[in-house]
């Protein structure tokens, strides 16, 4: 009976996913927001569906992709967007602007109570004040701003995004691909606006269809891509994977803690991980198809790809170790990287166009993918080392054979990481030589990659000559996590050099916390072996 549990859990999870992805049937006199959301629009140089524009804007302004009104109703991003461009009066009443800093509230004479979302209408009398304060705050360098200054700048930015949205699609001055003048699109938008305000759903839907076919005629590829992208947005594969990885991790923990259920929960976790990996892969493939680019093009996609790489390698490790540790590492790193990616997506379009210097698919495929796989491998090795140390110090289950198996696997993965990091770094140098006139420029990201290569070299040479044994290898592999997180993430916070895309003040405390945790584990591993609970002495 127990052996059906993994399948049962898999079916449950699949059903949950299907439920999540269900598109509710539209009533006849409802507005067809789905159709409207699929229409492509030009923003930031990219033709994207209105759905994406709406989601990104709402994410920047409100921090979420939907809007919960005071009366309990929830609006989707597209519904909110339609309000913004067609029904200004109503839209201005929606509480979309997030203000949590008490000093900002104090500017308006408000005190902090239960609300954190405010409407355009409420803020309107204070626009001049917000503008004045934000301009003052912006003169200060981003890293040195106080929380108040950051908050006021964010608020102003959100207001600008909001107003820009409306300007983009004013029926009178409709921006479209064919330059100015009265185009058929402008006419359609005007009709749609009228219909929306007077609640004539059939007219609205009819015009939406007209618009869709207009776009299809003018740029069929963009139109079909836009509808696929809308579907992609709806499925939100990476967010679902995040949840699946967490669930898998809980299953693995359960497999270790619950007597008699080890094999079955382990198998359940494996199934869920395979499902998650499939979804993860499809998500990456979809991104590649939509962008027409290799999988890694910005910091967001690097996070998603690192997660994918580590999950994949972790599954292979599990195949050899067969004790759940591989699955645990996969799910942990998969979860963590997708959480990071989720936060990185809050600053705008993750499928953004690439600037000139990155406009080369060859190097994006070779150098960037190789280095990112190197990062994945380093993180996996570090996680395996973490399990070795925690298991060895706190539990009795790290028998010598298990320890040896873990150590061998870690060593093998480190060799892989060394290989890929080394080759990736060299490829990066060649690309730089082709593009910027020099093989090596001591750019922070280049330095970070070099640090990883150096660290791998030190580990391999120290092991080869016997300076470190098994425990030393694991401790050094764990430090690899520190080096890699600095190299991948930390250098973006320095704000210098060619590679500084994405400034993350909020992430700094997390990074420091993570590095601290790894260093603490290294210190833990340094206690004498006879005090480890798994020590052979304690086994007797």
């Amino acid at each position: 009976m127990k052996r059906y549990v993994p399948w049962f859990i898999l079916v449950l999870v699949a059903a949950w996913l299907m439920l999540n992805w269900r598109i509710p049937k539209r009533q006849l006199n409802d507005f067809d927001f789905r159709k409207f959301g699929e229409i492509p629009m030009l923003e930031n140089g990219r033709l994207k569906p209105i759905d994406t524009v709406a989601r990104n804007a709402l994410l920047i302004i409100r921090g979420r992709q939907n809007l919960r009104l005071d009366n309990g109703k929830t609006l989707s991003a597209t519904q909110w967007f339609t309000d913004v461009i067609f029904n200004e009066v109503e839209a201005n009443k929606h509480p979309v602007f997030c203000i949590q800093n008490p000093e900002v509230l104090g500017l308006f004479g408000w005190t902090q109570y239960n609300r954190k979302f405010f409407s355009h209408q409420e803020l309107e009398p204070y626009f001049w004040k917000i503008e004045e304060q934000a301009l003052l705050a912006e003169r200060i360098e981003s890293a040195r701003r106080s929380p108040y200054e950051t908050a006021i700048c964010n608020l102003r930015n959100a207001l600008l995004v909001y107003q820009e949205l409306r300007r983009n699609l004013q029926p009178g001055a409709a921006r479209d691909l064919w330059g100015g003048g009265v185009s058929p699109i402008g006419v359609v938008y005007t009709t749609m606006g009228e219909a929306y305000r007077t609640n004539h759903a059939e007219v609205f839907n009819y015009e939406a269809n007209t618009l869709a076919s207009l776009m299809m005629r003018l740029d069929p590829m963009a139109a079909s891509k836009a509808s696929k992208e809308t579907l992609f947005n709806h499925i939100a594969p990476f967010y679902r994977c995040l949840e699946l990885y967490l669930f898998a991790f809980l299953l693995i923990c359960g497999s270790w803690l619950v007597e008699g259920w080890t094999k079955y929960l382990n198998r359940s976790a494996l199934f869920i991980l395979l499902l998650a990996l499939t979804l993860h892969t499809c998500g990456l493939a979809a991104r590649m198809a939509l962008q027409g680019r290799p999988p890694v093009t910005n910091l967001y996609s690097s996070a998603v790809f690192i997660g994918w790489g580590t999950v994949f390698m972790g599954l292979i490790a599990e195949r050899f170790l067969r004790n759940g540790i591989g699955l645990a590492c996969s799910s942990m790193v998969g979860f963590a990287t997708l959480v990071i990616a989720h936060h990185l997506s809050a600053t705008g379009d993750t499928l953004e166009m690439l600037q000139a210097v990155l406009n080369t698919n060859f190097w994006l495929t070779t150098h960037v993918v190789t280095i990112t796989l190197g990062y994945s491998a380093m993180f996996l090795a570090g996680m395996l080392a973490m399990f070795y140390i925690v298991r060895g110090v706190f539990t009795r289950s790290l028998a010598p054979e298990a320890a040896l198996a873990l150590a061998r696997m870690t060593y093998g993965i480190l060799c892989f990481a060394a290989l890929f990091s080394f080759i990736g770094t060299i490829l990066g140098g060649i690309w730089a030589d082709q593009c910027w006139g020099r093989f090596w420029g001591w750019d922070p990201k280049e330095n970070g990659a070099l640090l990883i290569v150096l660290w791998c070299a030190i580990i391999l040479h120290a092991k080869r000559d016997g300076y470190i044994q098994q425990r030393g290898l694991m401790v050094m592999a764990l430090f690899g996590n520190v080096v890699t997180s600095f190299s991948w993430f930390g250098v973006n916070m320095l704000g210098v050099g060619l590679h500084s895309y994405g400034f993350m003040e909020k992430a700094l405390p997390w990074l420091i916390g993570f590095i601290g945790s790894q260093l603490a584990l290294m210190v833990l591993a340094a206690i004498p072996v006879k005090r480890w609970r798994s020590s052979p002495e304690n086994h007797r």
Binding site: L42, E43, N44, G45, R46, R175, L177, M353, Q355, A356, N359, W363, G392, P400, E401, A403, L404, A407, Y411, C415, L419, F422, I423, I426, G429, I430, D433, Q434, C435, W436, G437, R438, F439, W440, W442, P444, N447, G448, L451, L454, A457, I458, H461, A462, K463, R464, D465, G466, Q469, Q470, R471, L494, G495, V496, G497, P528, V529, K530, P536, E537
Partner: protein, 321 residues
């Protein structure tokens, strides 16, 4: 046999790690192996030290510290300054007081690189084995030596300058805007009854004259529609070199440089008016080193990887028999 308390959890039994280095190097030089006999010649002991892995590890660790601290310093002091201070120097100096006093606090990039090159070279030579199984590691280490040497060559010999040309303009020189030179000209002024000559002098960026002419026919900037995000830049130039009878049109764009007469022209940006192109001109005699190194490394890594994988397969097969 009782386990010693200070041994590792998993005592490496007979299944020891056998990296291919075990095949390559003599056991005499392994630090955990038998001690070197005391009557070993002094030169041999020095050679042992210079070619030891211990030295490699020390150098690599020092390099890590240097690169890490340097990267943090770059935020404060800028990339170019830190390069000269940390990476392209023999020693890292720290200023003391205001009278120009300074003390060296750490080996600089060039010193560490030099020690590593010597160490690697000595290791290859002193412990060489003519076995094809060792070729992989040899090629890898040769590749590393080539990269280090190439880096040194580039630091010492390469010359970078810029050429800013407006559309329709012809230039015969490039300039280094970071270094200035004095230009003096004698001017004659004639007034009633006398002729005076007086020198005038002014500063201008250092110029590198070229024997050829470059004319910018057209500079195109392509942006993603409706944005300021650059998609591609390219300069359509005409190269005219009477000394070699060359007169042709060339397109230089981002990621696609133009090489001529030992120099390479890269499209790096454009002037503020948007109509003039800025090219980076690099003359780097050591340019081939990284490519040679890359070839050696790829081959070496391939050989090494194949050997290790086949070894692993064999051992696994032996274990499961």
């Amino acid at each position: 046999m009782p386990q010693r308390a200070d041994q590792d959890i998993g005592k490496p039994q007979d299944v020891k790690y056998r990296g291919c280095g075990d095949v390559l190097f003599d056991d005499v030089n392994s630090s955990k192996a038998a001690h070197a006999p005391p009557h070993r010649k002094r030169t041999h002991r020095i050679l042992d030290l210079v070619s030891s892995i211990k030295l490699t590890i020390v150098c690599l660790s020092a390099a890590m510290v240097l690169v890490f601290v340097g990267t943090l310093a770059q935020e404060r002091f800028g990339n170019a300054f830190v390069q000269e201070w940390f990476f392209k120097s023999t020693l890292v100096w720290w200023p003391l007081g205001n009278q120009g006093f300074r003390i060296p606090i750490f080996p600089g990039g060039h010193l560490l690189g030099a020690i590593l090159v010597v160490n690697l070279f000595a290791a290859q030579v002193h412990r060489f084995r003519w076995e094809w199984r060792a070729m992989g590691l040899h090629l890898i280490h040769t590749g590393v030596i080539l990269i280090l040497l190439g880096g040194l060559l580039t630091d010492l010999l390469s010359v970078e300058s810029q050429m800013q040309i407006a559309q329709g303009e012809t230039k015969t020189y490039s300039e280094d805007t970071r270094r200035m030179e004095w230009i003096t000209m004698d001017q004659k002024s004639s007034g009633v009854g006398h002729v005076t000559a007086f020198p005038t002098a002014y500063l201008r960026p250092v110029r590198y004259e070229k024997p050829y002419r470059i004319t910018l026919q057209k500079f195109t900037r392509e942006y993603y529609p409706g944005t300021e995000i650059p998609k591609a830049f390219s300069s359509h130039i005409t190269l005219s070199d009477p000394t070699r009878g060359v007169n042709r049109d060339v397109v230089i764009s981002m990621n696609h440089p133009f090489r001529y007469d030992g120099e390479t022209f890269y499209q790096v940006g454009f002037g503020r008016d948007g109509l003039s192109s800025i090219l980076l001109v690099v003359s780097n005699p050591g340019f081939a080193a990284p490519y040679l190194a890359c070839a050696a490394l790829c081959l070496g890594l391939l050989i090494q990887f194949s050997i290790q994988i086949s070894g692993y397969m064999q051992r696994t097969a032996a274990l499961t028999k």
